[in-house]
């Protein structure tokens, strides 16, 4: 009984005195905050400022005079608008495909598989993360090549290089980032929840729809942040398997390296940034992010 006394005091409102952390404790924050402010926010600020500059078309030198011309071009140039819509479409497509593949697999891993099977699947899902991005992208290039394996299997009806190939390759690359949070979401739901649903007369289908899906949704939302934002910024996979298709990343790269217009490239970089922020706000509005944090 005496062992209970201290905990009892804690619970009964006699809170431990609200101690301020020792001043030295704040030193712990110094390196990460310095990194965040200087390396991350600092570079973003430079990017933002440079987006308001321009390039002298004759000398190719950056002119440090403030102008909103770059943002005007980004907003009004039909080419940029088409590429932006295409890129957002690819990112959404990748996210939907990954969610459709991840949910059944994660559900199986969390609730059906035995411990051995679960470990085997976990290894299978995470191992590709150790392989180089380029290796995986080139593997798909090989698969989709003219007269390649897919062409051979389908009798010459392979999708070949292009936008669909890009979506498939990106879906493949980012799938583990969707599976892991969805698996964690399912694993957190106690099995008694499933049993309670059946106990109250629900069939497996109803349980899946009314209990499992809503409870796994925060996991899908978390995974979608990865698949969506990673796809939005990708410009390598599309170069390898995308044929002539261009995504935002390629356009930015082109402006920066080929056209030597750093300020326009900087302004274009804000497009995926704004899209990701809008996506996060949209997710926030559904209330799933708070649920995930809890």
């Amino acid at each position: 009984m005496t062992a209970l006394v201290p905990t009892e005091n804690l619970r009964a409102g006699r809170r431990p005195s609200r101690r301020r952390p020792a001043p030295l404790g704040y030193l712990l924050l110094l390196p990460p905050l310095a990194w965040l402010f200087i390396a991350y926010l600092g570079s973003m600020a430079v990017l933002l400022v440079s987006a308001f500059w321009s390039v002298d078309s004759f000398t190719g030198q950056v002119v440090r005079v403030t102008t909103t011309g770059n943002f005007g071009a980004v907003l009004h140039d039909p080419l940029f608008r088409t590429v932006t819509l295409r890129t957002v479409g690819v990112a959404l497509g990748v996210t939907v495909i990954d969610a459709l593949l991840a949910v059944p697999l994660a559900l199986f891993m969390a609730k059906v598989a035995g411990p051995r099977m679960r470990i085997a699947l976990m290894v299978a899902v995470t191992t590709p993360l150790w392989a180089s991005y380029l290796v995986k992208a080139y593997a798909w290039r090989g698969l989709l090549a003219p007269n390649g394996p897919l062409d051979w299997i389908t009798g010459g009806h392979s999708i070949g290089y292009g936008l669909p190939a890009t979506v498939i390759t990106l879906s493949y690359l980012w799938l583990p980032y969707m599976i892991l949070p969805v698996y964690a979401a399912f694993a957190r739901v106690p099995s008694s929840m499933w049993e309670a649903s059946a106990d109250l007369g629900a069939t497996s289908g109803t349980t899946l729809r009314r209990i499992a899906a809503p409870l796994a949704f925060p996991g899908i939302a978390a995974g979608s942040i990865f698949t969506f934002s990673l796809s939005l910024g990708d410009y390598i996979a599309v170069q390898i398997v995308g044929g002539k298709s261009q995504l935002l990343g390629n356009v930015i790269y082109g402006q920066l390296v080929t056209a030597n217009d750093q300020p326009l490239a900087a302004a274009l970089s804000f497009v995926p940034l704004v899209v990701v922020l809008l996506y996060l706000f949209a997710l926030r509005a559904t209330g799933t992010l708070e649920q995930e944090a809890r």
């Binding site: 929840m193 109250l200 007369g201 809503p214 409870l215």
Partner: protein
């Protein structure tokens, strides 16, 4: 959406020759039980004794390896849980976190295709029964443990099952709340009048709540009966030790202390400390030395050495009783009625039992 639920005529539960094995371990070993319609029935036993597995087989979450489960006389052994007219209050309550209390309680009515208005009316009625109707719009995370427990109860009762199963229903609550819920559960069971079957490892809970109880040990039922008879006439050494505390005396020690052969159990509260008063008729009187005095508020527990063994005795602190101190010489007395003979000499498993085991 309405699934064809097997509607038994009444809420009786019959288990015939139930066995359940998991891989190589036998969880439940040939259990036969008859639970009557409207009965408040407890399955009591230490952890791992098979009581929860039996409960899960009545609910349909587990299939018996052998044997038959009947509800209201209908064989439901292979009927899946969603088609059994039985609901369960889970140990962790299993409330759906993304739904309000009302939606939680409506869930079972929804799967049964009850219309919207009727659903709402019955959910509110069920919540009112557990005095939580004013919180219908809240989510489970906003409730205390005791409130969650009551929502789980309302949710299970809203579908008006023939049998309600409760898995360690009060285990997660603190003592005060547990005592309140015991009274409330009893009242609710009387009101709704259906069969309640609950699992517990707490012998106090089993004794206070149930009309009858079954004592489980190692996958078997050791004894079934009303609380009073299980306590007063334990069938064997395990029951005598697990349900309450017993002084168990066997063989040579029994011969010396109670003057009889065989194995005998004496409840601590049936041993009296004699003052200077003469011993009552037909009583055994023994001289003893007090070795320990444990004050427990309402009662005091005394360990007294009578020579070959140390006996445990408890007395209510009603006042007027002479205080005993460690080292005192006292006279103990018990009547023949206090002695209960145990039939088995060899207890199967005593690991978790509070038996005051007495060895020579």
């Amino acid at each position: 959406m309405a699934s064809p639920t097997t509607r038994p005529a009444n809420g009786s539960v019959t288990l015939r020759g139930i066995r359940k094995t998991f891989a190589s371990t036998v969880a439940v070993d040939t259990v036969n039980l008859e639970i009557a319609d409207g009965e408040f029935f407890a399955m009591l036993g230490p952890s791992g004794s098979g009581k929860t597995t039996v409960l899960r087989m009545i609910a349909g979450f587990e299939q018996p390896t052998e044997g038959t489960v009947l509800l209201g006389g209908v064989d439901v052994t292979t009927v899946p849980p969603h088609r059994r007219d039985v609901t369960t209050v889970f140990q962790d309550y299993a409330l759906f976190p993304h739904m309000t209390l009302r939606e939680n309680v409506e869930y079972g009515l929804r799967t049964r295709g009850v219309t919207r208005g009727e659903r709402r009316r019955r959910a509110d009625e069920a919540l009112a029964m557990v005095r939580l109707d004013h919180m219908a719009a809240r989510k489970p995370a906003q409730l205390s443990g005791g409130q969650r427990q009551r929502v789980a109860l309302a949710r299970s009762l809203a579908v008006r099952p023939k049998v309600l199963l409760l898995d360690e229903p009060l285990g997660a609550l603190d003592l005060k709340l547990r005592e309140e819920m015991q009274v409330e559960l009893k009242a609710i069971q009387r009101d709704v009048g259906i069969t309640f079957v609950f699992v517990t490892h707490d012998q106090d809970e089993a004794l206070t709540l149930s009309d009858r109880l079954a004592v489980f040990n190692n996958g078997r039922v050791e004894q079934v009966g009303p609380a009073r008879s299980v306590y007063e006439e334990p069938a064997n050494r395990f029951v005598a030790g697990f349900v309450g505390t017993s002084n168990i005396l066997s063989d040579a020690i029994a011969q010396q202390v109670v003057g009889r052969s065989g194995t005998w159990a004496v409840r601590p509260e049936k041993i009296a400390v004699l003052g200077d008063s003469p011993a009552p008729a037909r009583a055994t009187v023994r001289e003893a030395t007090v070795t320990e005095v444990v004050y427990a508020g309402a009662s005091t527990r005394v360990l007294a050495d009578v020579g070959p063994v140390t006996l445990t005795l408890t007395s209510l602190n009603t006042g007027g009783v002479r205080d005993v101190q460690r080292g005192d010489r006292i006279r103990l007395a018990w009547t023949d009625d206090a002695l209960h003979q145990l039939t088995d000499a060899d207890p199967t498993d005593r690991r978790d039992t509070p038996t005051e085991e007495i060895t020579a």
